[in-house]
Amino acid sequence: MKEEESRGAPRGYFPYPKEWLDAESEGIAESVKRWADLELIGKRLQFRENFEHQMKSFKVLAADMGLHGLIWPVDLGGTGFPLPGASSTLVRVYEEIGRAEPGIGYVSAVNVALAAALLEEEAADDELKARVAPAFCGDGDIQLFSLVLPGLGTAGGEPRTILSGREVQAVVRGDGDGWLLSAEGARPINSGYNASVYAVIASTPDGLGIAFVDADAEGVERGELLKTTGLSVSLNADVTFNRVRLAKNAVVPIRSGFFRNLSAWIRLLAAAVAIGSAMDVYAIVRDWADNRIIKGKGLLRDNPMDAAVLAQVAMDIVESRSLVHSLARAVAIPGGFGIETSEDLYIMSGILSVRVLENCMHAVNRAMELMASAGYAREWHVEKHWRDLKTMQVYIGGRTPVEMEVAGYYFGSDII
């Protein structure tokens, strides 16, 4: 590279591998960027966390603009972006959504990840896909899926099936020509309060399955709306499945690979949302640093101590973006990064998503430090990103479980 004069980074310049995205993908990302600016960022002070406005904007994105149908085959009503190659496109898109509203990004990411895992699942037959597709590909009201994954159990409680160290929350038993689904107070990872359908990983007489349960089915009991730290779009509630009767084809047998694949998609897209969120915080704190006078004479950005903090914000984002786009590429080209199996991908996605979420939390925390009281004032919006990121971090799983899995993968440690 020839030596040039320093030009400084243009505002918001965080490089990513553009050669991994074609013009069509960039066009989609640009459309989502416009949606983000017009629907949400430009109306923040007016609507704050108004749920109706969030859902109205979400519908525009998911249904009217067709994001939720993007990866579905054309014959099922989708746009036909092929999997797994769409991963880089999706990462760019979810960065833009995260910039505007991480809650929408997270709920959408979980739903699209479910779709991606289903479309890639060999055991999911065409009939199932055709049944699920309209919820993603229609242009009417949004149909949200709430995902019930294995999680924490109750000490001393009835033994449960273990999947990747986590306890499977639901049980399916045969009942004539169908199934009965049971779970007590299961905790979904999204939208338990307002989903149209629950997608529940359950133990079955033959192993594991994923059960699709209409929210209005008899025996489905939603708990009270949970008040959560952030991600206010994801209205969540514990759900009890009280011997809910399901048709035979409502439960799809799955391999452990399905759970790993699903987890990897969730982690990838959630990490992209987190980066978008951190990028928006960068934009806010940059404005702050450009205008804030300290000690009665200099700009905050020109104070060496504060500049060091600002630098960390940028470094966290640059590193995170590099990691996530690499992960997306690894997903897009099976074997291309030496990632051959669902276990390989699961571990890599765990490592990288933990790192990215921590980086983004770090970036936002540091930005808040410089903004002091304005950092926690709702009107500046930084604190919302901070709450959303933390909520996403705990919902997709923190560091310790991933560390246990990584130790098992790299060192053969028998701990989870």
Partner: protein, 410 residues
């Protein structure tokens, strides 16, 4: 740590109040940030019914005399920690009620005339008396707290002498106990705008009902609903000359003590973490991973150990600081740069460790960590605010470095 009989007694009283008046209701405090329908009765129970708003005031004016003892800081640590265990927003509001009176109700600089004038507000009232230190201004954030570097040079709020009165003009942001609550302001202002002479800094009391005082609406924040903050405008506000706390030179000197004692806010970080520990103990005993209680997993136990360590070491640092502040005969006056540095580093350490520990607790709890029903996420939001207020981390770093390394230009 062993407790004195007085500490045991006071903690027991506060804990009883916390368990009945705060903890059953605190999950709904976020929605109560503006109205204080839930918060106000709890605050009144503490301040008025139990009488804690009398604590600082000298006995001769009807108070509990803490300001006139050798255990002011230590007693503050017990009280603040215990109140903050239930709700750090209430603890902050509680502590700040005293804060403006530190200038005149704490030995060795008790101003008996002003105590006589303002003490009834605290000792003879059937409603909470909201004291306020009006310090931060729009243009400079924590510049005013950066006293040893700027010496009041950036203060824009002015006090002009006119006959037997001070005429005050200025705009303050963010003081605790404002947003319509304030009863008495201690206003940090200057008699010579732009001056770097500390004797030009004035600390003047302004009753909130004085003509020309306007309190703006409360700000909506990430947490600490009990701590109401807003803009305050002083437009040609006239108060008697005697309302200046001590006069040129002494106002600025004792204001440094106000800043130092303000760092007892480390207790507002430690108290919530004591409660997080209690919750985490229960959670990690009840919930399992891979069929084993969470606390029995070595990797999780290692995280739990870090959390406990953060609490214990922060607490040790807080009570060490309190001991130093209570013994100026050994450690020097509370307004010295040495004590300010000790206070800043203690608050910074406790705020950072407790916030980090609470974040870890949320991660261990998974989806339950972000669920208000478990109370940990509320503490996490409050703890972040504790890290940021009072000048935040960077100012604490500068005051600490300035003292320990003799920095001259920070």
């Amino acid at each position: 740590m062993t407790s004195s009989p007085a500490e045991t007694y006071i903690r027991k009283i506060i804990r009883g109040w916390a368990e009945t008046a705060v903890m059953p209701y605190r999950r709904n405090y976020d929605e109560d940030w503006n109205d204080h329908r839930l918060i106000e009765p709890a605050f009144k129970a503490l301040m008025v019914d139990l009488g804690f708003q009398k604590a600082l005031i000298p006995a001769e004016f009807g108070g509990w005399n803490f300001g006139n003892t050798d255990y002011l800081a230590t007693a503050s640590a017990w009280m603040f920690e215990e109140v903050a265990r239930a709700d750090s927003g209430i603890a902050l509001a509680f502590g700040v009620c005293y804060w403006p009176m530190v200038m005149v109700a704490v030995k060795p600089h008790i101003n008996r005339r002003l105590c006589a004038e303002f003490a009834p507000l605290f000792v003879d009232s059937d409603k909470p008396a909201y004291g306020v230190v009006a310090m931060t201004e729009p243009q400079g954030g924590s510049d005013i707290e950066n006293f040893d570097m700027l010496h009041g040079r950036t203060i824009k709020t002015t006090a002009r002498r006119d006959g037997n009165e001070w005429v005050i003009n200025g705009h303050k942001l963010w003081p605790t106990n404002t947003g319509g609550l304030a009863d008495l302001f201690g206003v940090v202002c200057t008699t010579q705008p732009g001056s770097e002479k500390e004797e030009d800094v004035a600390y003047i009391y302004v009753p909130a009902d004085t003509p020309g005082v306007t309190q703006g609406n409360a700000y909506e924040k990430a947490g600490m609903a009990a701590d109401k903050n807003g803009d305050v405008w002083f437009d040609d506000v006239r108060v008697p000359l005697r309302y200046r706390a001590h006069g040129p030179g002494l106002d600025s000197l004792y204001f440094k003590e106000v800043l130092t004692l303000g760092m007892m806010s480390a207790a507002y970080s430690i108290g919530p973490m004591m409660n997080v520990y209690e919750i985490l103990y229960e959670f990690c005993s009840q919930k399992s991973l891979n069929g084993k209680p969470l606390k029995e997993h070595d990797a999780i136990a290692a995280e739990l150990a870090e959390i406990a360590t953060g609490i214990e070491v922060s607490r040790a640092a807080l009570f060490r600081l309190a001991m130093m502040l209570d013994r100026p005969d050994r450690y020097g006056p509370r307004w010295s740069p040495a004590m300010l540095a000790q206070a800043r580093l203690t608050k910074m350490f406790a705020a950072d460790r407790c916030l980090e520990g609470c974040g870890k607790a949320m991660e261990i709890m998974g989806t339950y960590g972000a669920d208000r029903n478990w109370d940990v996420e509320k503490h996490w939001r409050d703890l972040k605010m504790g890290q940021l207020y009072e000048g935040g981390k960077q100012l604490a770093q500068m005051d600490t470095a300035r003292f320990f390394y003799d920095c001259e230009t920070l």
